[in-house]
Symmetry: D3
Subunit: 335 residues, 6 copies
């Protein structure tokens, strides 16, 4: 079987100006034998500068990035551009349209499926196209995430460390230019061991950054502002929109994510009453929260404690919880 | 067909002490021919005082009341009681267990189905039991709601006005005793014209109060505190737990809900970026928010404006929205 | 429980000019606590003439009427109107949006649910609103149907006979004015005994007509032309758009539908190869078609014969068939 | 709305001989606008004797009665008949075809929906037809049940006591003629308070009997034999097949079902290891079984005890159980 | 893991005579631990001639081929045969039984899954069996398709060009022998880049032909006749049924399919009113149709134009359409 | 992509004592972005003896092994152990919790998916973890199965023959030690050609045994006793619990499973009345049972006969059957 992507677009990535079309993912269904899934795609090109790939909606229920990129796509004047901006503001489109993390077509969690499969399900094909067609023409990758329905996240940027000393330096620079309040280096746990979009970009040697900007499937004004400012700083810094008006970055506090051993998971099905906030510095043994039991109201609550010190990077958002749900993740200043 | 409820319980409502069992709703399914749905029920009785009916989980994804009532059921010492406390902390149990507003068994929205039906679906039967069996032995009804997954609510209590001057006075007293920061009188729009639990209680002449205590299917510590204090004040004031330790109510700001004509609804499917907060006083013509389009990112956003002045009582919580979704409801100080 | 409709609209039916809004059916769901289902509604009013109610999309997969009414709503100049035109081109909106006969929300087949229920499911509430709110302000009803996915129909108009001699005369006049090639009087079998929209209109003494204009969930240019001409003739004839440009009606061939005893139903699950066309005059004993067996290819086909003479009004459209499917209905010239 | 049944059949109940057709329940669906659900129906008539109505498949996953009636319908020679035998061996046909208790079309549990509704869902319409059309032409009703997927049942017959002394005598006679090893009188708990087929027959003054003949959705040879012999004895005794070859009844042990207070219900979700057999005489306090926990294997099992003496009439069949499932019902010799 | 097919059959492909059994695809499900999916298979063998593989129901809702092959399987007298005819008239059997394009078991679109997977889902296993077991014993492949529910197709045959000059010649000969009015050479776009059955046959060097014979999930008498005549001509020409009675082929008009750049796709969700017919020669700029909006009836329709000249090979059949649906494909006479 | 398992556990397999935790299968879903599926796991280690891997719930609806292993996990005193016992009593946990054969998350039939996939669906990942992480630290594997919902099984143990003479001897010894009444050698047909857990263990040279202990998704006391005794004998014999109190094995009757050619499959959809019992010796031509037709009660039953002599190892349990269901499998004494 061929490993050439079956995905196509009416956009010519080498054409000057702003083009708006779709990634067209062939999807032959009961209602559409020769149809495709329309994933919105905007390409703005002018001059000879580098290519910045901007994505949001990798998980469909994460919104700060989606709105930031829609606004950006409308605001950029192609005449100001020196290089190329490829914008996919609703990346896993079926998931975005359904308002959920994963695609309702194939239950595909795009950010666990890289490097994808040219002959797989629609989400597999999408991952493959990004990895096999877009990454080779890209210089910088920014994939905007938030906590989604199940998590509340302290606003921050994340990156994997990079493969070489030069790559590492490029990653750190990107974090600083983007200028989220906190920049987190993560060493492989992203996606619980699966390959995420930004990990796949790292594999290709591209400086890549992702974010977490709020959560609960609602909109954080603060997170939206961080996304808008960060993306604009990157476009300005890398010379793609040299005259972009945006306040300068004051760098970021560099932290590292702690391992799953310091995470707190729900030990039972029940109702989660948290005792710590995102951004809070917690100590080992401090109460993390309680689990009450909707099916057994007279059962005393389980009291949960943190098993390591650190800062809360994210917390479960819904009160209802099941055994195995992540209630807290921690991070700490980099050593 | 008989109109006698088929629902039963092992609890004897006249027995002294604390009993914990279930409403047992007969549900004959493929996997359980003679089974019942176990809706947790606690009855605490002592002495001769009045009966307070306390419910939460009428909508399954509203949590402040559920946790407040679980804690109350565990904390009350039956020896302190003079009267009867009937507690249903997970009222529409299948909805609570599924973490959603309506029951997954019959798609039943309990708070739209009163006075229920003894021979209907499980949710119909539940409404009928509450109306036909519990209301006749109840003196005061408190049904604790929050915004749930789709709404963010300013914490407040609501009541219908009452049928007679005495009833009206009893309702106002109940609002004052409960002591939420705001007490809202609503004149019929609750449930969009359908009969809610507290409207059914009003029909039977019972003073009844409901609340909204947060939203987004997460837990508001402030909302939880209001629920806990309010319920305890009611138990103390009505003499059911005379020695209850709770700070006194400072009354509530009395407001009225404005009609649907002053509400803001989404005109399209898209992404909602709000421009006002719950609790904010807005003026006619003020920007309410914008709708961006995930399926058409280059389409300019629709700008929405308020059509009447008032205070925002609730706002849509998820960013994704569909035509017809309520984005804002307003209220105003009572005239 | 109240029997007042909970459905509302921003349209003022007494206002002069063209208004476009929605029937707003309250539907409190997991994703939208206070939302409504937006059923498009256009009202065009001027002068003092009668009110014509025009509907399509009663079954969601019948398209000639939907397009005819959308075009009409755009084409009519309110200044030309003397009276009122109420247009609902996508009547059971959830069914229309899903491209299927019945609503995916409650499996409601609107045309089997009249006179509806003010406190029922969304489709029940819609039927009730039409019957209880729209019919009392309406003088003539036209409900445009086609065969939908499962049937191919000879283009024709249908009406129930009317309750009084005056009513009967009004019905016959309406059929003649509309001017479909064939006008069928049906005496009660519509909807297999359930109450359809036009039967409910008859109960209120309103002259009412329905159509069948094609089928297979595709678009018949001929059926579309019949719908467009017929509706325009009615608007002109009843004086609502006196200067409407439309060719005059040449009346219609008056027929009556034959009973279910002359229908042909599938005796087995299989593949239906028809032997007669819609519009064909068939005789008793004539071959109607064959059933082949996809699960048992060596089984000889069952040969079906007509059991009565008549003209084929409709035929099953899909080749796949199940026992009990209607394969043919017949009609005959009126005696 | 009319209360006349919309269900029809090609069978003429007054015609001499054996006819085989269907109850034809109109069901207008996306795939079949004018179709009906084919519920097999056999009518065998000759002479002037009484009418016996025989049904099985009321719950779709109960098989002894289905096979017994299919064999009977094939075996009876109409020439031997003096009266009328109406046989519905797959009564709730969609449930039978799906191999489950309730109909997959409307989740209808037929035996909880009597007296039905002429304008309701397919299962409502079926109940209404039986009650409104078949019962008035019937002299004796036998509705053959078994335990189905969720229960194992001791083979027995059941009847409600009857409305008058004559009716009571007729019921007792019917139990004796049928000759199951045990005949149980039940005083209202059938269906947990809902109206079953045989309770609806009692309301019309008809002697009616039901059975339980095995369970687990498999076939009990013993239960099948009891069904076959019992039905044949009834046909012989009531003179409908006077020369029927069948061994004489030796009567039955008359028992009564004990109330739900003596039943054992599962207190938790888990795995049920029973400690008593169907047909076993148990004493108060005797161990009934244990619940192990698949989600918490180190949790000690819950030990359940009987709370009353009696004979086990039925026991839960699947090992997996949920809170509220009936694990045992008891009966005792009639006082 | 083994790459040996797990699919089996009771048919011995080397046995003389007509055998009818099934491809037996192991499918271990909740209801059938050791069961298989029964895909009907007929093998007719006699003498020493070549093997013709005839398939239909590759997509379950395409019927001309299914009926043509059922009739052929019944009509052929094994005594007339010199060679072997392998007939699979309901190839993706679960899709055929469901009346839909793809299998309801695994959502498998068989014609996108070649060369399949011996250890994959049922549809993967089926593709693998055809490719790995049947193709090696086959000399000519004919896979009969039609437009299915979503497309209307001009009746035609299609083939891929072949891998070598000899192969190309064999393919052209096969098109001429089959004798559809039009024979289309397609150069790789079949299946949007995925590997179809006939492309997999090409990879093995087998002359292979597919058809399109109608659409809309209904039966085209003309398409059925083309299928029946074409298959019979092939059987006669290749000497498998030398005395077959069938009128001679008059060859076919040789065309080529145009690329996706000349296709017309739906730009929005709405209602499609086409302006051209299948078989029509269209010119660049000619109106192709209009999209009306059921959710926004006052929005003017979008007018679509053809972007290249050509003959319409297929057109979308359902009126309802979504962005990305193929509305038209074009072809042109071969250069 | 990495082939390192993403599954983890809080258990340290080298730690002395009894630990109880879970296999934690990362599963990033709409409701739990960083959650895992909790598969219960108990590890009991002491001393230096071998490692025995004990599993049940590979298919979720097979219960004898689940209860036997839960009881064992609770009963073993770690002080008695010399070696390591790894117990997974609910192996495919989502299937166990759903009470069905396959996982409701991915429809994964664990016992058809070995050797699994580190980057596949949850069930793929589970198979991979067992094969890639647990097998390399294991000396003996026992995977306890029963017939589940669709089969009734004669209690027996099964093993594949082994790869080398030493391996074969080890397998035979294991069968004898376990001491089920019958020990069956199967030569590859397990899983219809797919790789089962015990076949994957064989591939790694580990002596491995599986069982069948009852069926129908209910609990066989006899099967439970065989499982409990067999596992205890193995623990004693291999020196892992040297002082285990258990009666000695009397070996087993060694048989071999017959091929699928001697199995009986259902030829049609209908109701299966069996004519032979599990454990019965049947002869060629003996009646196996009959198929009655719920959709066509007057159709004579199909009579099925055995096509080979042998002992019935398993029989279909549900009465309802579909074409292709296995009705009987046979075995015979080993030659």
């Amino acid at each position: 079987m061929s490993t050439i992507s079956r995905v196509w677009t009416a956009i010519d990535f080498n054409k000057i100006g702003r083009q708006s079309d779709f990634l067209r993912l062939p999807y032959s269904s009961n209602m559409s034998a020769y149809g495709w899934i329309p994933t919105p795609l905007i390409c703005i090109k002018n001059g000879t500068g580098p290519t910045i790939l901007l994505t949001a909606g990798n998980h469909g229920d994460e919104y700060e990035g989606q709105i930031a990129l829609i606004k950006l796509a409308q605001d950029i004047d192609p005449a100001e551009v020196n290089g190329r901006i490829i914008i996919l503001p609703a990346l896993n489109y079926p998931a975005v349209a359904a308002g959920q993390r994963v695609s309702p077509i194939d239950d595909g969690n795009l950010n666990r499926l890289f490097p994808g499969n040219a002959n797989g399900s629609p989400t597999d094909m999408l991952a493959h196209y990004i990895d096999d067609v877009l990454f080779p023409i890209t210089d910088v990758v920014i994939d905007l995430h938030s906590g989604g329905r199940s998590l509340e996240y302290l606003p921050l940027a994340l990156a994997r460390p990079g493969l070489t000393p030069e790559h590492r330096q490029a990653v750190r620079k990107l974090l600083n230019v983007f200028g989220a309040p906190i920049g987190v280096l993560t060493d492989g746990g992203g996606g619980g061991g699966a390959t995420t979009l930004y990990a796949a970009a790292e594999q290709r040697g591209i400086p890549a950054l992702t974010t977490e900007l709020g959560g609960g499937a609602t909109l954080s004004p603060e997170g939206l502002a961080i996304a808008e400012r960060g993306v604009r700083r990157v476009l300005k810094h890398y010379g793609v929109v040299p005259e972009m008006k945006v306040e300068a970055s004051s760098g970021c506090r560099l932290m590292e994510s702690l391992s799953r051993d310091s995470a707190v998971y729900s030990p039972e099905n029940g109702l989660f009453q948290p005792a710590a906030e995102v951004g809070e510095m917690v100590s080992e043994g401090q109460e993390a929260g309680r689990i009450y039991f909707y099916d057994d109201p007279m059962r005393p609550p389980i009291i949960l404690n943190f098993t390591a010190p650190g800062m809360v990077s994210c917390r479960r958002f819904p009160t209802i919880t099941a055994r195995g749900d992540c209630l807290y993740n921690l991070m700490s200043d980099i050593r």
